[in-house]
Amino acid sequence: MLENFSFRTIVEYLPLFGQGLVTTVWLSALSFAGALAVGIVLAAMNLQRGRLFRVPAKAYIDAVRATPLLAQLYFLYFGLPRLGFVLPELVVGILALSLNSGAYVAEIIRAGILSIPRGQVEAGVASGMTYVQRMRFVILPQAFKVTIPPLLGQAIVLVKDSALLSLISVSELTRAGQLLASDRFMPAEGFITIAAFYLLLYYGLKGLAALSGRWFGLQPARSST
């Protein structure tokens, strides 16, 4: 398949890839924002003392992590209408990705928070900060530093998972490659081009992660305890 690799056909299909790329980008960006929101709420619930919040949060996280996105997508797309909610494909897609990824993000954030030495929490408590202030000024900035790498990992998983949305007729990057593969029977051209674009997105994300790492940055060197 490689010896007749046709760059010309790829160029011909570039506009289609471009459209797909744009859709993938904004779709994933919105979904990841949603996933962060869902994840933070779930992690906060999961870290409460009371069972009232902890139990449902744990149950949700486990259920979502233990089942495939495909089944969840089916539930939202075909199941919700039976309960009387008919939502547009894009909304269902973003919802599915956010709810799915949120469960993973929640675990990442929880691990990050638990990695903060207890002395830090105590210092915040002792200076009279409220729970929210402690979270905001002391714990989350330090937790984010440890969670940036796994969050980047989750983000790229989400970007790639968004390809599943072509099942419910959302046309994104992968679909463009599949079209090239099925119209022209050029699977190598189609898939390798997709891979190149995803790689581009990956490096973009990595750059963003590095930037935000610097944002929360602190010198490693000697520890303070």
């Binding site: 398949m1 797309y77 075909f78 209408p81 039976r82 008919v86 494909e89 072509s166 099942l167 419910i168 007729s169 046309s171 679909r175 599949q178 079209l179 593969a181 099925s182 119209d183 022209r184 029977f185 050029m186 699977p187 190598a188 898939f191």
Partner: protein, 242 residues
């Protein structure tokens, strides 16, 4: 050098890539057996060659690469031999003609193909299938939704109200709708197009291509092709057996 047919004879095995895209062409029956119109034709080919048959069951993404990379000798799926595709693989003569049809839910307000031309109608098609292109020309004002995942998903989308009308290969629609209670869907009598279906192999296997065409000629002449199509495609006789 020895041709593909010699290779096949030597290894005693014909490797056929199938897609299992659903009734009536290729499906997994109630007892887990692989069957369908195309599948039986392929089995017939192997029988005529005097070798055993091995099915390689890929999903759509893997089908063409399997043929092009030589993992499979030939490809048996309900594929339309377009000119663009013909640049890459060698199609046999068409062995049957079908076409895309429009279908709706039985109690829907869309009763005819004309109804579906209204602006904003949601039309479900299969990603990359010929139906997708035809829908775009036939319903320029409609909202075309391309699903990936096979014909049954289209029926599901129509049944659940995610789309108003579906466009897909008529034989597929007929075959697949039998899984629903009778009368669930209205299938429009008119076809949007006439489409040939063909098998495919590689251009570096001219001997196999010649043989396959010969095979198709033979089975049309001796009626075995017609019998197959009558059983699988032109009726739902197969339903009681599988």
């Amino acid at each position: 050098s020895a041709g593909t047919l010699d290779d096949i004879t030597k290894r005693g095995e014909l490797r056929v890539a199938v897609q299992t895209q659903g009734p009536p062409f290729s499906l997994v029956g109630a007892n887990g057996e692989r069957t369908g119109s195309s599948v039986e034709l392929a089995e017939l080919m192997a029988k005529e060659m005097g070798v055993k048959i091995t099915f390689l069951d890929f999903d759509w993404d893997g089908l063409i690469p399997a043929l092009l990379s030589g993992k499979a000798d030939l490809l048996v799926a309900d594929m339309t031999p377009t000119l663009a595709r013909g640049m890459k693989v060698a199609f046999t003569k068409p062995y049957m003609y079908t076409g895309s049809t429009v279908f709706t839910k039985a109690d829907s307000k869309f009763k005819t193909t004309e109804d579906c031309k209204a602006k904003g109608t949601k039309i479900a098609v299969l990603l990359g299938a010929t139906g997708e292109k035809e829908a775009k020309t036939a319903f320029p004002d409609a909202d075309i939704k391309s699903y990936k995942g096979g014909g049954p998903l289209l029926l599901d989308a129509i049944n659940n109200g995610q789309a108003d009308c579906g466009v897909n290969d008529v034989s597929a629609v007929k075959g697949q709708s039998t899984a629903y209670p009778a009368g669930s869907f209205t299938i429009m009598p008119d076809l949007l197009s006439k489409e040939p279906l063909a098998f495919a192999t590689r251009y570096d296997e001219p001997d196999l291509l010649v043989w396959m065409n010969l095979f198709l000629d033979q089975v049309s002449v001796d009626g075995r092709l017609q019998k197959n199509l009558d059983y699988w495609v032109n009726s739902d006789a197969w339903k009681k057996d599988h």
